[in-house]
Symmetry: C2
Subunit: 418 residues, 2 copies
């Protein structure tokens, strides 16, 4: 047994015990813990920012890219945002025990389907210290124990935030092992988590290509994949040019670093014949690097697309662009290059939109709307732990409710089966 | 690449193509295929029974136990049952495309959550030829392609039934690769299925301890575990003795070979003090071998329980029995030895029943009812592929609806995110 396996076994056993207690914790106790954690964070800005300064120094020494450093960085306003998030989750309805459905049977049985926590959740994420609070809060709300493994550059920041979460648990008399943070930068701990059968019930991996590969090779524990968001936006022949311009710009440029940002623009050939280079020019004018293929590459200012520009998550002011033949061409391209996250069609033709909705199987399909709406808050779910790109159990935005399973409660009166 | 890996890759690629077509197949086409399959089976009794005779001979030569030979055996009445099952699934509502929920958002978006097939399902099962039809039918109804791998002793029977399923697909102009049967007895094919990432979306393993171990070691594909049913029945101090006798007998003896059969009787010590050996005597009188512990072992006719009698799935006229201290003692025992399938409490005290329901996390918890009701038909779901014992995605009885995932369809009108 390696050190990492032993470490995860220790954390896992503590989490399992905590999970049994947590599954029966009152909604009030969980709410109290979350509010107390927010209060503790409010009183700890100095300590958290000092920890973050150490992480930032470590990140700079390591030569992290600016976009990574920006994700790692905390300031007063971001800390306030984390606190607000904790208080918002505290006020959400408690999903545990909710009766999702109930019915009677001719046998005389009354059957209820009731939400129950999953058990122990493992979250593997990048160096975004806020996830420590967000994921911890959603796990607690849904009655699950959680083992958090943040990116190595964010270790001190995550530890400082984690200390506030534990303080909240303590004040609500909930087990401290309900929210645990893996206290090491050793990457072997990630492998140990992926293989911790019987200790961790589900792993939520949030990350890019590197983590995808690791999960595919090593995961023995069920996974809610929260992986790449290679989102497409398709402008149909019957699109309204003004709506198209507005939505395409928003989908690409509102925020480029989120998983719902559009990465590839598909334009129907007859739209292009009728309206010319308007959309590509609007992107260029907004400062987007457009990596264009075929006729689109002749528009001045574009860059010629390389094959691997399609199916790539840029998370930057870069967009691949291509002409396709109608909605079927768009569907074929997305099936080949997409990541089953979010795709949008722009068209005034209902039948074409229906075809797009039927022919694709991404978690989220949109019609005349920006892909940037792929977000638990925008869906009305409150906070989210991320957007699941797999098809099992949870799909799309994952909030507290999506972190539950269910059980059937059946009532009879000495009822036997014939 | 081994032969088995290559075989599963071939089947898997064909299934993936079929799955895309199937996801968009009309409810009418799927219904037609199922009825045509039932008709084909009705016209093929002679061929199927001849194939089954070969399998039975093979099974006898191999020295299979009588209970296994009984599961393998087909006759006119069982074939009629399989046919009726196909027609019943044909008449069920089609789950694909069902709008599970819909709501509006302040942003102006309208969001629908719509059922969609999972994709390609792999089913690994024992030598029960009827599962070939049941699992094939439920997969088709839910728009999934399926790869079936039945027990090696049932190969000819399964092939004969599979031929009828394919005939049904053909008559409905659906792709024949929608329902495929692994055409080999080589056990390496099971391993290849468990590792077929990207080809198979979910594996449904139905079997006992051997398959559990294999799945835990090898599975890379998500799993809906349909594994052991180590069902407990707990008789509380406040149980009605007459209801208790009736339910305990039914739970154990109605059919011993199904996963919902009770395997362990837990009796509260004060119930035993008040009512004596009545329940154990009733089991003995019905011909059950009672493997009893402690004071219960002094009842004439019982056998002394060995430690591994607890947590064992007998699937036979055998029951472990033990005294416990109240509902908390029962909960502790079941948490340690159960398989999260189905447990029942007998009590007239509502608060105690609530404690049992809250303290346990099995897929199905019953109050004053026989564990033998753990069945999709009895739950009102129509046919079932089995009872899932895991907590991910599907739990309890798994019918066509439980074999679906969902996607979000979002409508705007040029809507952008602020």
């Amino acid at each position: 047994m390696t050190d990492s396996t032993a470490l995860i076994e220790t954390l896992g056993n503590a989490a399992r015990s905590a999970a049994i207690e947590l599954a029966q914790a009152s909604p009030e106790a969980k709410r109290t813990a979350l509010i107390a954690a927010a209060d503790a964070l409010a009183a700890s800005h100095e300590a958290v920012l000092a920890a973050n300064a150490r992480d930032m120094q470590f990140g700079r020494d390591k030569g992290l890219a600016d976009s990574m450093l920006d994700r790692l960085r905390l300031d007063e306003s971001r800390l306030k945002g984390i606190e607000d998030g904790l208080r918002a989750v505290a006020q959400q309805p408690d999903p545990v025990g909710e009766v999702v459905a109930e019915w009677d049977r001719p046998s005389g049985l009354h059957i209820q389907r009731v939400r129950t926590p999953i058990g122990v959740i493992g979250v593997i994420y990048e160096s975004r210290p806020n996830v420590t609070a967000d994921a911890g809060a959603l796990a607690l709300k849904s009655g699950n124990a959680v083992i958090l493994r943040g990116g190595s550059e964010s270790l001190h920041s995550s530890q400082a935030i984690h200390a506030c979460m534990v303080e909240g648990l303590r004040q609500a008399d909930l087990p401290e092992a309900a929210i645990q943070l893996v206290p090491t930068r050793d990457r072997a701990a990630v492998s140990a988590m992926l293989q911790a059968q019987g200790l961790i019930d589900v792993i939520i991996p949030r990350g890019g290509k590197g983590l995808v590969g690791l999960v595919q090779q090593q995961a023995r524990v069920p996974v809610f994949a929260h992986l790449e968001g290679i989102c497409h936006i398709y402008v149909d022949a019957k699109a309204d040019p003004e709506k198209a311009r507005r939505v395409v710009l928003n989908a690409k440029t509102r925020r480029t670093g989120i998983c719902g940002a559009a990465e590839c623009l598909l334009i129907d050939r007859s739209y292009f014949d009728a309206h010319g280079p308007d959309l590509v020019q609007a992107l260029l004018a907004a400062g987007v690097e457009v990596r264009a293929e075929g006729d689109l590459a002749r528009i001045p200012g574009t860059v010629a697309a390389q094959p691997d520009d399609f199916g790539q998550e840029f998370l930057d002011m870069i967009m691949a662009a291509k002409l396709v033949d109608g909605v079927d061409g768009a569907i074929a391209h997305i099936r080949r290059y997409g990541s089953q996250h979010t795709e949008s069609i722009l068209t005034e033709d209902e039948a074409t939109a229906r075809r797009f909705f039927a022919g694709l199987d991404s978690a989220i399909l949109m019609h005349n709307a920006s892909t940037q709406f792929a977000d638990g808050g925008e869906f009305g779910m409150g906070a989210e732990i991320g957007i699941a790109t797999g098809k099992m159990h949870a799909r799309g935005p994952v909030g507290a409710e999506q972190l539950t399973s269910f059980k059937y409660l059946v009532k009879g009166d000495g009822t036997v089966r014939a």
